[in-house]
């Protein structure tokens, strides 16, 4: 679904990402893991249009998304849940959700909202409350819900486990993997928390200093002790 071909990103003289190629098939979770500074967030920002890649391309169902603006990329079916529970605290839960698909026609938007409320019942309960009254886990659900409101074909998740209790992380990631299978969604998950990420991922990609150092099945990477020691540090 999402094909990343030799993508490079430079911040001035620093090359944050060099010639990264990843294939993200639909119906599966693909996890990109790596230490802090490996280029994981840069990859997400480049795919969603927040930074311009220096070279390389990314296509979704054959359509090139690189070089476009974030507001156009989301319309092409690629939704990012940025790092750090990116909800807007001053808006209510329902306003945060509505925001995710404002350009769509009302009927379609409302239908998706019903699905999101089914998926995250707690959001339905709190729909008229301000987002800053939610707990961390609830806000992460809201952030994912907002991304789903655009009815994406590709969902990009940047460090969803950050600052959350392990139990909640497991719940959220299991829900994401179920979502991938049931809605035939291509999910690209970026995580520092490799153990949890690899548990739900079909494919794992190890990123180090901006380069892909290994691609393999989730269990393959999780059991490779040398790799763990060298790049993941556990």
């Amino acid at each position: 679904m999402l094909t990343i071909t030799e993508l490079s990103v430079n911040y001035g003289a620093v090359q944050a990402l060099s010639n990264v190629s990843i294939e993200v098939p639909k119906g599966e979770v693909t996890a990109v893991i790596g230490a802090n500074g490996a280029g994981k967030s840069t990859l997400m920002r480049a795919l969603s249009g927040l930074v311009k890649p220096g070279s390389g391309t990314a296509t979704v169902g054959g359509v090139t998304i690189t070089g476009r603006k974030p507001e156009d990329i989301v319309r092409l079916g690629v939704a990012l849940v940025p790092e750090g529970r990116s909800t807007i605290p001053e808006l209510t839960v329902e306003e945060n959700l509505r925001l995710g698909g404002l350009w769509r026609d009302k009927a379609a938007r409302n239908a998706t909202q019903v699905q999101v409320f089914d998926l995250f019942p707690v959001l339905a309960e709190r729909r008229s409350m301000r987002a800053d009254t939610l707990s961390g886990g609830e806000r992460q659900q809201l952030a994912i819900g907002r991304a789903l409101m655009s009815e994406p074909r590709v969902l990009l998740l940047d460090e969803p486990s950050l600052g959350l209790a392990p139990l909640i992380v497991t719940q959220i990631l299991e829900l994401v993997s179920r979502l991938a299978t049931e809605s035939n969604l291509a999910v690209l998950l970026v995580e520092q928390n490799a153990v949890t990420a690899l548990r739900v991922a079909t494919t794992g990609v190890v990123l180090n200093l901006g380069k892909v150092v290994m691609v393999g099945s989730g269990s393959e990477i999780a059991s490779d002790e040398q790799l763990r020691n060298a790049y993941l540090g556990y």
Partner: protein, 292 residues
């Protein structure tokens, strides 16, 4: 006591106008974090346009609608030509640029409409209303001013709370990155904000002109009041701009009534200083603190 109440009533109309002007400052601050000092210049310019339309058509209503449209257009032009080229995150650069626009507008107005202060025809009766055996310090025109202000505030509230465009505007103001990722065309939304603020300021100009006069500098004092009000209200609060605006109108009326109208600006600045000492983030602000 009667005098006190009379002074209060007499301040309502001007309070509403100050509130509108402050509102136009708040609209731009909310979305761009820039205090638009050119706002009174824009209002002055569009009021001159309104005066030309009024002279030409003889209709105050057409003049008001013309000012609304001209205000929106001028706002968009200024945003495109002056504010967009200023580097993003360079807030002080942007603020200084708005001062430049103010001076340019005043100079241009002086050339286009020479001859100093001009009277703006009075569209409604501005004499105190006679009721229950006495003359009250409030006129039909004051009611028109208060009514138009109330309508505008109602319209803006509905826009922000009930429409998709309003939600986009709020999202773009609070977190432009998340707004973009959600598909909001942020730069278009910002341009619309400048148009909206331009229109609100233009209405304030047309409403104040009949009770003062119109010259390139005649609204300068309005800038002092509107800025004071916007800051005290918290700069990002519509409610703050309106309530503090009306409050300031009342204070000005009381000060002018009991002492001298020349003291009013000093009292307004004292209020501003007091606010910055006691509650620097503003009375109605969403934010916890603001450094001064």
């Amino acid at each position: 006591m009667t005098t006190f109440l009379d002074y209060l009533l007499g301040g309502l109309g001007s309070g509403a106008i100050i509130a509108l002007m402050a509102l136009s400052l708040v609209l731009i601050w909310r979305s761009t974090r820039v205090v638009n000092f050119a706002q009174v210049g824009q209002a002055m310019f569009t009021t001159f346009i309104a005066l030309s339309i009024q002279t030409w058509t003889g209709s105050w209503f057409i003049a008001l609608v013309g000012a609304l449209a001209a205000g929106a257009l001028l706002g968009v032009i200024i945003q495109y030509l002056v504010l967009r080229p200023v580097k993003r995150n360079d807030t002080s650069g942007a603020i200084i640029a708005t001062f430049g626009v103010l001076i340019a507008l005043q100079a241009a107005a002086g050339m286009i409409w020479p001859g100093g202060s001009q009277a703006f025809p009075q569209p409604f009766n501005n004499a105190g209303i006679e009721f229950a055996g006495r003359v009250w310090p409030i006129s039909v025109y004051d009611f028109v001013v208060i009514g138009i202000t109330a309508l505008l505030v109602l319209g803006l509230t509905l826009l922000f709370t009930k429409t998709s465009l309003g939600l986009s505007m709020r999202a773009a103001a609070f977190n432009p990155e998340v707004a973009k990722l959600s598909g909001v065309r942020v730069s278009r939304v910002l341009t619309f904000g400048w148009a909206l603020a331009g229109s609100v300021g233009a209405v304030a100009g047309v409403l104040v002109a009949p009770v003062s006069t119109i010259s390139p500098n005649s609204f300068d004092i309005l800038l002092v009041y509107a800025f004071t009000v916007a800051v005290i209200g918290g700069l990002d609060s519509l409610i703050g701009a309106i309530s503090i605006g009306v409050f300031t109108g009342l204070v000005i009326s009381l000060v002018s009534g009991y002492s001298d109208s020349g003291n009013a600006p000093i009292v307004a600045l004292l209020l501003l200083a007091l606010n910055l000492i006691l509650k620097p983030e503003g009375v109605f602000s969403h934010h916890k603190a603001r450094s001064v």
